[in-house]
Structure formats: structure tokens, C-alpha cells
């Protein structure tokens, strides 16, 4: 983020908020509460509106993708504001961009969700907004009653003044409170024991709108004079438009305009993915029919001969050479040479697509000096940047409204579809809504990178792991980043502080960058999904090969509670004992120690990321003819303090199913430069039948600080499944997806 604040003084009076953005940079927000920041007489600051009947509307500044942040963040405000949760409703706030002397700042704080930071980065901010507003209401009441502020307190929705026996509802105080300066000293925040809302069972605040079809997603945007647009995209990766014949397309009733969209140079940093031909019409269907009627010639692409076979062959060959050593703890070679048993395995993790159920879409209206964007996006500031890049309009004149997002999973961290929509509106002068078809979405994604991992470990005579190496050949997702030196490409794919860092003395990580024309990006829990799968699967192999119990080996390695340094996602520390506690717990719940009949088995896995800890125990059956049945799932999380436990459980359910669905059947492949999958018939997300009714979720409380949740819950699901398959059938899954590998 480029937020810099120069001419704004950092002091309490202005209630400046300093927090870290999703991208990790420092974000300085404007005062959220303070004199003259209300937009109406009912508002106290930007976030809180209180009506005379005591109803409260709390602004939600973050994109809601289904992770529950739209409920959880207002819970924080309501807790400190001291109102009844039943009186609260929520309104979505737009991007709060403000021009400063030499950059931009954000009047609603940092906005954007990725890296499971939605709650953690707003934990202090939102509580302070509530507490400051409550303080102002108390001060307004005290002033009116002619008493000192400390003689007043609150009960939900009311300021009370004990000595006078007087009570004043918040609604009567808002106009006065909004005019008071904010004192320099921050009001104290509640103690965890005093919480009435945080940590309690609450339902999704706008669920009624969702189940009655009233919720407006981006795709549901309807604006005056709006036209509909689609883009014909190249069948071959990174191919550019050479020429097109639109005679037949323009004959379709309702087709209004057809033109080329210029794309970036292949491999260069991108605003949009690739060039194409836009069709604008007076309805979605006319635009789609117009697109079907186009005759397009494409330039030969540099990726025309790319194939998955070639990519995997190259990775195999790379692992026969020496790569870039990115971590080398202890004396790996000597330790490995001393081992009495060495175990090795290669694992293949495929490219996968995000496939959020709401296809990419964006409304854009570009006028001469301003632009309006309505989009489902995880990064509204990125949407603003993308629209500015293609229109030349200053960002402070680009208004970005966020809708509820029909799934993100990392896909909507990238705002390429916003740039496309802005390009089409700029070209035509019309307000337009761009829609991607499902085929557009599956074939044109920022895919999770595929990689070939080699794991090798040596154990001593006591079964202790004395040396461990992971060697990875993959297509780094950092390949198209501006100013990214080649020697840093590994950083997106290997996380050196992950397990078993600090737990095995002699540890080496090695990376080999490979290329393929498939665009790559961040997919929920990015490389943790790959690394947890291979590490937790390999641990199982290592245990069996060295005559140890897979649970006991994990517990021996993880040990008791202590803080280890951890850079990157979820640092600055990692406490392996919290993983020990979780895996013991799930093992116990699933009766891990109980012998199962042939064809039935239990698998375990655990992983730390983004500050949170998760573990899975899964029980499966594998029939003689290779039919897999997932019989029972136990999923547990330690996310510190669970602010909104109902949503934490929902994420545990959904994240587990995401991990399993992907492991069971999902892979993107390339032949002759073309993505071979196109829709849900050949990119088969799991359906309800794959997921057993016997599915338990558990939240193990830890301390009084929340961690993220959305990505933590996913990585350990797939390896628990693979380990269960091994326990049931003796078949080790080393290649994902599982597909029909179990068929005899």
C-alpha cells in the first residue's frame, strides 16, 4: 500500500489509527471518531449511527467473502460501545480513500482481506472505535447533567449517572457527542471477563437477506443505462489478438459494440491477464451470443507448446541437479550420513483454480474526470489502483463500492477484472457490467502453483529425526512481480520457519524455479496447502518406515509449549506445543488407538500458519475395488480467542471441505498451451455426498488475543485424508489429486 501521511499529526485528539495492512505495510487511517466526522446528526464518527429508537448501525469496512467478518468486526465495536447486539445492523462501507500531500490515506482504516488478517488487524481498531464512541457519549451526558464524566457509566444503549439516578439513551446524546473533541488519552478497553458479545454464539447478521435472495452480489449490480459486456479470451495461454471479424456478431440483436482489449506483454507485470475482444450488448445473453459469433485470429503464443507433461518432466529432471539452497541449518550432510535409516519420497501437488461460485464481474462507469466501480473484491484499494492505471483518472476520483463477494479464496486479491471493466467503459463511455463465464474463470486464473517436492529424512538408532530436507521444483507465483529478483522467487513457495524448523537440528531446503505459461497467484493458505500436504504425509511415511507410531513421532518432534521464532505468515513466534495439544485432542476424539478392521483407517495431520493452529483426524474406508468413503471427520482449531465462534466453526467446516474437495479431484492441466479444464464437469468440486454427516468441529481456547482463521483450517485436511487412506489400504498418496488412484 502506498499510504503515507505527512501533514497529519499523529495524536490521540485526532484518533489516528496505526495498523498493519494486508500487504504488511503500515497504514495510517484518519480519525474514525472525532468532531465533524459524522455524516448526519445520528452519526458518531464514520462507523457508528445511533437512532432515537436505540437501533444502531455499524459500518463494516472490510470485504465480506463468507468468512464472517461483516458480523465479527461489528461485534467488536458493539462490545466496547456497550449496546445490545440485537439492536445492531450493519452497512457495508466503500473504499475510504483520501488524497494527502504526497499520497493517499484511508479514512476507514486499512481495507482488504487476505492472509487471514481481517480480524487480527482490526482487533484493536474496532474495539477502540467502540470504546471512544462510548466515552464521548458519557462525556456528552456528563456535560448535560453538570457532573463529572467519571460519575457516569453505561448499561447497554444508555448512559447512567448513579448519583443523580438519571439515565439518558445513546440516541439522545449522539448529536452532542459527535461535536466533542476526543481527549488525548485513549479510554481503557474491557477485560475479557466482562465481554457480553465477543466470544458468544451469534448468527450471521444478514443471513435472512441471503436465504431470501435479496442480497446483492457484484453480479447482481443494476445501474441506470447499464450495458452488459463479455470478453472473448485466447484459447492458448498468453496469445494476443491478431485480427477479428465481427460481422456476424454485430448482426445479433442487442449487440452494441465490439473492440479489442489490449493485454500486457507475456510474463510482464500485469494489470489484466491477456488481450481479448470485448462484446458490449443490451443484455448478458446478447453479449454471450455475440461473442460466440466472433471470428478471431490470434498471434502464435510463446506458450503454444506448453504442457503439463513437459512441466512435470522438467521438475523431475531438476531434482536430479542441485538447486538454490535457501536454508541450511546445522551440518546436514554429516547428520544424514550418520543416520541408521533414511526415508525418501517425492510428492506432486498440482495447479488448481480458485473457482469461486460467483464468476468474476465488475460494474464500471468511467466519465471524463471520475469513475465508479462496484465490484466483488478482496482488495478494494487494488481495484482503485487498477481502475486508475487504465483510465488515468486520479484515484481520489475513483469511487469503489464493495458488494458481498460470492467467494474469494485469494482469486479476488487480483483486480484484473476491474481493470477490464474500466477499459470497456472508458472505450464506450457507457456504464457497463462485465461478466466472466465459468469457462473464462477456469481457463484464465491465477492458479495455485504446481510443484514436485522431494522429502528425505534420516533417523538415528533411537528413532530421532536427525536430518531433514525438502527439495521443491515449482513455478513460483512471484514470477510476474515487479522488481522481484530471481533469487527470491522461492520465498512464495517454501517457508523456512515452517515445521520442522527448530525441531530438527540439521535441516536443508532447496528450490528449483521452473516456468510454464499458466498465470500463478495466491490460493487460500497459499503454499501451506502444498507444504503441509507433503510434510504431514512424509512424517507418516517416516514413522511407518522407522517403526514408530505416527502420532507419537509427531508429539516427540513437536514437544511441549515454547515459543520459536517465526518470520512470515503469522509470526513473530510459533508454539509447537499448541500443535501437540491439538493433535492429541483430535486423536483422542477419533479413538486413534483403537484397532480398525482391514479397509478402515484413521489419519492425522496438523499445521500452523497465519498465527493459528489446526489439526484433523479423519477416518476412511477403502473397499477392495478401491472405493473411498470418508466416514468421519474431527477438525480442531486453536485461534487464541474465538471472537465469533459460530463463524470459526463454519470456517473449520468449509476449510476442511475445501482441502478435501481439492485433494479428491481437482487439477488444472495444460496441453498445446491450452488449459484443458473449462467448467465443473471437468473441474469437479466435491458435492454433499462426499462429506459425511459425522463431522465434528472443536475450538480449543488459548489466550485473550484472536488469530486469523480462514486459511488456518485448510492445510492439514488433505494430509489427514491421505494418511487415513494409507492406514486403511496401505496405499500411499504421493500425487494429488487422488482421483482414481485407489482403483485396483
Amino acid at each position: 500500500m502506498s499510504a503515507r501521511v505527512h501533514d497529519i499529526t499523529l495524536n490521540r485528539r485526532q484518533f489516528l489509527i496505526v495498523g498493519s495492512s494486508v500487504a504488511g505495510g503500515l497504514v495510517l487511517g484518519l480519525p474514525a471518531i472525532g468532531a465533524d466526522h459524522g455524516d448526519s446528526e445520528r452519526m458518531i464518527g464514520y462507523f457508528i449511527e445511533i437512532a432515537s429508537d436505540g437501533s444502531v448501525v455499524i459500518g463494516s469496512n472490510q470485504p465480506e467473502l463468507g468468512q464472517g467478518v461483516r458480523t465479527a468486526l461489528p461485534m467488536l465495536v458493539a462490545e466496547e460501545l456497550d449496546v445490545e447486539w440485537s439492536k445492531v445492523s450493519v452497512r457495508q462501507m466503500p473504499l475510504g480513500i483520501v488524497k494527502t500531500a504526497d499520497g493517499y490515506t484511508w479514512k476507514y482504516g486499512g481495507q482488504g482481506v487476505g492472509g487471514s488478517t481481517g480480524l487480527t488487524s482490526n482487533w484493536d481498531y474496532m474495539r477502540q472505535i467502540g470504546a471512544t464512541a462510548r466515552q464521548q457519549l458519557i462525556r456528552a451526558a456528563a456535560e448535560r447533567l453538570g457532573v463529572r464524566a467519571h460519575q457516569c457509566t453505561t448499561r447497554p444503549g444508555v448512559v447512567t449517572c448513579g448519583s443523580l439516578g438519571t439515565e439518558i439513551p445513546y440516541g439522545d446524546l449522539v448529536a452532542d457527542a459527535a461535536q466533542l473533541d476526543v481527549p488525548d488519552e485513549a479510554p481503557p478497553l474491557k477485560d475479557i471477563d466482562d465481554y457480553r458479545i465477543i466470544g458468544t454464539q451469534q448468527k450471521t447478521i444478514d443471513a435472512l437477506d441471503m436465504v431470501t435472495g435479496r442480497t446483492r452480489f457484484g453480479i447482481d449490480t443494476v445501474e441506470p443505462d447499464m450495458r452488459y459486456a463479455v470478453i472473448a479470451r485466447a484459447p492458448v495461454l498468453n496469445a494476443r489478438v491478431k485480427s477479428f471479424d465481427d460481422n456476424d456478431a454485430r448482426k445479433i440483436d442487442g449487440v452494441l459494440d465490439v473492440f479489442t482489449i489490449e493485454g500486457p506483454e507475456p510474463g510482464a507485470p500485469y494489470t489484466i491477464l491477456a488481450s481479448g475482444v470485448a462484446v458490449v450488448a443490451d443484455s448478458t445473453w446478447a453479449a454471450m451470443k455475440g461473442r460466440d459469433a466472433l471470428q478471431i485470429q490470434w498471434h502464435e503464443s510463446a506458450n503454444a507448446t506448453d504442457s503439463s507433461e513437459k512441466f512435470w518432466r522438467e521438475n523431475e529432471a531438476a531434482l536430479e541437479t542441485t538447486g538454490q539452497v535457501v536454508l541450511d541449518d546445522g551440518d546436514f550432510d554429516t547428520a544424514m550420513a550418520s543416520a541408521v535409516k533414511v526415508v525418501e519420497g517425492r510428492y506432486r501437488v498440482p495447479f488448481v483454480s480458485h473457482a469461486p461460485l460467483e464468476p468474476q464481474n465488475c460494474y464500471a462507469y468511467v466519465q471524463e474526470d471520475r469513475c465508479h466501480i462496484i465490484a466483488p473484491t478482496q482488495m478494494p484499494s487494488g481495484a482503485s489502483r487498477a481502475a486508475a492505471a487504465v483510465t488515468g483518472i486520479p484515484r481520489e476520483h475513483i469511487h469503489v463500492d464493495m458488494t458481498r463477494v460470492g467467494g474469494g479464496f485469494g482469486r479476488r486479491l487480483t483486480n484484473d477484472y476491474v481493470a477490464e471493466a474500466a477499459m470497456i467503459s472508458k472505450q464506450t463511455g457507457w456504464p457497463i457490467k462485465l461478466l466472466w463465464s465459468r469457462e473464462d474463470d477456469i481457463r484464465n486464473d491465477f492458479y495455485r502453483p504446481g510443484g514436485l517436492h522431494e522429502l528425505r529424512a534420516g533417523v538415528d538408532a533411537d528413532g530421532k529425526v536427525v536430518a531433514w530436507t525438502q527439495r521443491l521444483a515449482s513455478g513460483s507465483k512471484y514470477y510476474r512481480r515487479p522488481n522481484m529478483p530471481d533469487e527470491n522467487l522461492w520465498q512464495a513457495e517454501l517457508y523456512p520457519d515452517d515445521f520442522p524448523k527448530g525441531l530438527v537440528d540439521n535441516l536443508r531446503l532447496e528450490y528449483f524455479h521452473n516456468t510454464i505459461g499458466l498465470p500463478r497467484g495466491s490460493w487460500r493458505a497459499p503454499a501451506h496447502t502444498a507444504n503441509a500436504f507433503v510434510i504431514q504425509s512424509f512424517l507418516d511415511e517416516l514413522a511407518h518406515a522407522s517403526g514408530q507410531d505416527p502420532l507419537q513421532l509427531r508429539l516427540d518432534m513437536l514437544g511441549d509449549e515454547r515459543e520459536l521464532p517465526y518470520n512470515g505468515h503469522g509470526g513473530p513466534t510459533f508454539n509447537p506445543g499448541r500443535l501437540s495439544r491439538l493433535i492429541r485432542f483430535v486423536a483422542d476424539r477419533i479413538d486413534y488407538g483403537v484397532e480398525r478392521p482391514a479397509g478402515r483407517g484413521v489419519g492425522l495431520a496438523t499445521h500452523f500458519t497465519f498465527g493459528g493452529y489446526a489439526a484433523h483426524a479423519i477416518e476412511v474406508t477403502v473397499s477392495d475395488d478401491g472405493r473411498l468413503g470418508i466416514e468421519r471427520i474431527v477438525a480442531a482449531i486453536d485461534c487464541g480467542l474465538a471472537v465469533h465462534p459460530n463463524a470459526v466453526r463454519a470456517q473449520l467446516e468449509g476449510g476442511t471441505i475445501d482441502g478435501l474437495s481439492t485433494a479428491l479431484g481437482l487439477e488444472i492441466t495444460v496441453r498445446d498451451g491450452k488449459v484443458q479444464q473449462s467448467n465443473f464437469h471437468d473441474y469437479p468440486l466435491a458435492r454433499i455426498a462426499a462429506i459425511p454427516a459425522a463431522f465434528e468441529t472443536h475450538i480449543l481456547p488459548y489466550d485473550d488475543v484472536p488469530t486469523g482463521v480462514g486459511e488456518i483450517v485448510l492445510p492439514s485436511a488433505a494430509p489427514a485424508l491421505a494418511n487415513a487412506i494409507f492406514a486403511a489400504s496401505g496405499k500411499r498418496i504421493r500425487n494429488l489429486p487422488i482421483g482414481d488412484q485407489l482403483a485396483a
Partner: protein, 157 residues
């Protein structure tokens, strides 16, 4: 000209008779609760009722519903104040995450429960095939059973 009834309204559509019903509902009738997810009848986000039976509207030409009666998610409950028992069950179990697939899930379930008023898990596995990318299947399964209970008890009918 294609004429049909949608929820409580009578509608005439004089555009391309090959237009999928989904796009007539969304673009022309502005009922956006019915979603586009795949366009090939795979995901179920576009399920509506045609003469009371669930149908994927993304692959059904509007000409096919001439003279027929369509119900969309917006028309499922008699009044906004009183959701359909299936919607009530969805609220009780707090099913939605992103929420995008849920109108289709609910429309599929309402039809399913007419034929399987006391469904087993196996009945659900065989008949409910809508996709949910967020993975709300655990709660969908519970909500289907709960809706069956509510309907058996005669609530909200």
C-alpha cells in the same frame, strides 16, 4: 412472444425465444436471487421451480416455459415476515457463508422434500447435487433434516 407466470406476476417476453430462462429472470425481470454459476446445469445456483418442480434455468430456453408457472427464491415465502420452513431451517442452522449458492440450494431442497418428506442421509446424497464452493455441506445436511421436521410439524405452511 413467450408468456408465463413468475411468482405472482404474469410476464410476456418478446426477445430471443432461445434466451435461457436464467437471463430473462435476471436481466429482464430484475430478479437477481437466481444466480449464474456455470451455465451448463452443473452447479445448481440457478435452480427455480417450473410448475413446482426444480429446474436448472441456465440451460432452459425461455420458450420452454410458455404458459407455465415459475417460482424463484424471491417468491418462495408467502410473505417476507414469514420465511418458508426451508429458509427458516437455513436460518436456524446459519448455513450461508458467502451465500451465493444458497438460493439454489434452498430451491432444490424445497422440491426434494416434497418427494422425500423424511429424508435419510443417503436420500440427500443421491438427490442434492448443488455445488457449494465454501463447503457449507455439513450445515446444509442438518438444515434439510430440520426443514423436514418443521414441515412435518406443519409450521409455516
Amino acid at each position: 412472444m413467450t408468456s408465463f407466470k413468475i411468482n405472482t406476476e404474469s410476464v410476456d417476453f418478446d426477445g430471443d425465444p432461445g434466451t435461457p430462462l436464467l437471463w430473462v429472470i435476471r436481466d429482464h425481470l430484475n430478479l437477481t436471487g437466481t444466480k449464474y454459476g456455470c451455465g451448463i446445469g452443473q452447479c445448481g445456483s440457478c435452480i427455480v421451480h417450473v410448475d413446482g418442480r426444480a429446474a436448472v434455468s441456465c440451460v432452459m430456453p425461455v420458450s420452454g416455459v410458455d404458459g407455465r408457472s415459475i417460482t424463484t427464491i424471491e417468491g418462495l415465502a408467502a410473505t417476507q415476515a414469514e420465511p418458508h420452513p426451508v429458509q427458516q431451517a437455513w436460518l436456524e442452522l446459519d448455513v450461508p457463508q458467502c451465500g451465493f449458492c444458497q438460493p439454489g440450494q434452498i430451491m432444490a431442497t424445497v422440491d426434494f422434500l416434497k418427494r422425500h418428506p423424511r429424508p435419510t442421509d443417503e436420500d440427500i446424497d443421491k438427490n442434492i447435487t448443488n455445488l457449494c464452493r465454501c463447503g457449507t455441506y455439513v450445515r446444509i445436511r442438518k438444515a434439510i433434516h430440520r426443514a423436514a421436521e418443521l414441515m412435518a410439524a406443519g409450521e409455516g405452511t
